[in-house]
Symmetry: C2
Subunit: 280 residues, 2 copies
């Protein structure tokens, strides 16, 4: 093999690290791949770290210890995160999105790869330290954003179903009070899906009263799994008292006015506070 130059190594390493977020690559992996010495690769990584930081392209960490190496996390700066969520709030506030039923049409936005990847990275950035083993969501609309959160965290996604399926094997079913009018509904999760003692991050697209998220928390208790966090893309201002405490959301809907077809959506205050703090 020809000798690989530094700029070529950097380009290749950048591509490899970015495609597998939060995965630890040992220096040995890269030594073998490029036929370079560890000291050389250490310098490469310092350069990469500097570039990513300078252009707000995410964070490169060196992990020490036996399982040590280098890993990439697509953590946006607080200002970028806020700007990104602000842009989304404008997109969702367009009057045409308010359906005659009073609901907001968001199915398209929830399945635009660029947007959900960015939202997933913002959510993930809040929970790296909590070290979840998997991301949990309830079918259907939240799956893309939960999937992208899982990708950014480098962990699997687990999907709770509305009813048990023959192709998922023995399952645990629980009943829960759904947000809209306190109707009793069922959710189901395959017994194989998660293991006792694991740590779950719950991610969903939308929360009103918090009934579904509460159901997922209860479901995790049945599996003896610890819930390390709950994060939704949008929550409603009302009711102020949710069925679950400590839920993070990226966006808040204040109210919808069906007469003027207007809707008031803004980034959650924690995003704004973080952005302002970063500026000073």
């Amino acid at each position: 093999m020809d000798r690989i130059r530094r700029n070529e190594r950097l380009a290749a390493m950048s591509r490899i690290l970015v495609e597998s977020p939060n995965k630890i690559f040992t220096l040995g992996t890269f030594c073998e791949m490029f036929g370079a010495a560890k000291s050389t690769l250490s310098e490469d990584i310092d350069i990469l770290r500097g570039v990513f930081s300078q252009f707000n392209l995410g964070q490169l960490d060196t992990v020490t210890g036996a399982a040590g190496g280098v890993r990439y996390r697509p953590i946006p700066s607080a200002e970028d995160a806020y700007r990104c969520v602000k842009d989304l709030s404008r997109m969702l506030s367009s009057p045409g999105r308010l359906l005659p039923s009073g609901f907001l049409y968001m199915a398209d936005v929830l399945a635009m790869p660029d947007i959900v990847a960015r939202m997933g990275a913002i959510i993930a950035s809040q929970f790296y330290r909590a070290e979840p083993d998997f991301v949990l969501t309830m079918e259907t609309k939240g799956i893309p954003i939960a999937m992208m959160t899982a990708k950014a965290l480098g962990v699997p996604l687990v999907i709770v179903r509305r009813d048990s399926k023959v192709y998922e094997g023995p399952a645990v079913n629980i009943n829960y009070l759904s947000g809209s009018g306190g109707k009793v509904e069922t959710m189901s999760l395959s017994r194989r899906a998660v293991k006792e003692g694991q740590r779950a991050l719950i991610v969903d697209d939308f929360m009103r009263a918090g009934g579904t998220a509460r159901g997922m928390v209860d479901m995790m208790r049945e599996f003896a799994v610890t819930v390390v966090g709950v994060c939704v893309m949008i929550s409603t201002q009302e009711p102020v008292k949710k069925r679950l405490d400590g839920v993070r959301s990226l966006l808040v809907i204040e109210n919808t006015d069906e007469n003027t077809s207007s809707v008031n959506i803004h980034p959650a205050s924690w995003l704004q506070v973080a952005a302002e703090k970063a500026r000073t």
Copy 2:
């Protein structure tokens, strides 16, 4: 701003291109970002292209014309694609996956970000030339793989529902014959989801007789949308005659033996043929 060196530019460009597959970035975008001349950036892109090609990291194309620029496509080599699908077939063939019901448990694999991202890239690589405007799938299990296909293609995902939802607005409902026993089922798609004259790529996780995929094709006809391709992750050998022709699949299940709990899954022959052709 300090002058950015070539190796720094290459690392940053690699990260930016890889995160937005199939999106065309003009040279001007990068000129502005790095304060470098177009001729310099052209050289950078030649180097990037060479590195990506040498290490099988995907394909960098220069697009000429008014909307010209450079774009990244995560196209694996034929050998890598085959190896990747072969690995997956081994994983799915493990005896413990055969459920008492005779079904194969795959929910975990279908939601492992690394695996679905790779499968999505393999599927996408077959359809760049067909230029789909969106990827269509039916809820639920196929969503992650369809999402990752959509990301690799740089187009939105559209999700067909089992029944219409108030939060998706007016919808078109159609009936279709489901594979298992020819039961009549309903699928529903929001009228806002797609536009007349667009081009759809249908992606799903599993196909037996092809009833669901056929339903999605019929649904697209209702919207005056052209279907440019249908691809599933796994199809069954039987029935040989599907309700739909020209369907690609990555994996084929030959048979399952409930007595020995064994199942025979292998990569589809077109993947093997392409890999062998590449080797010679």
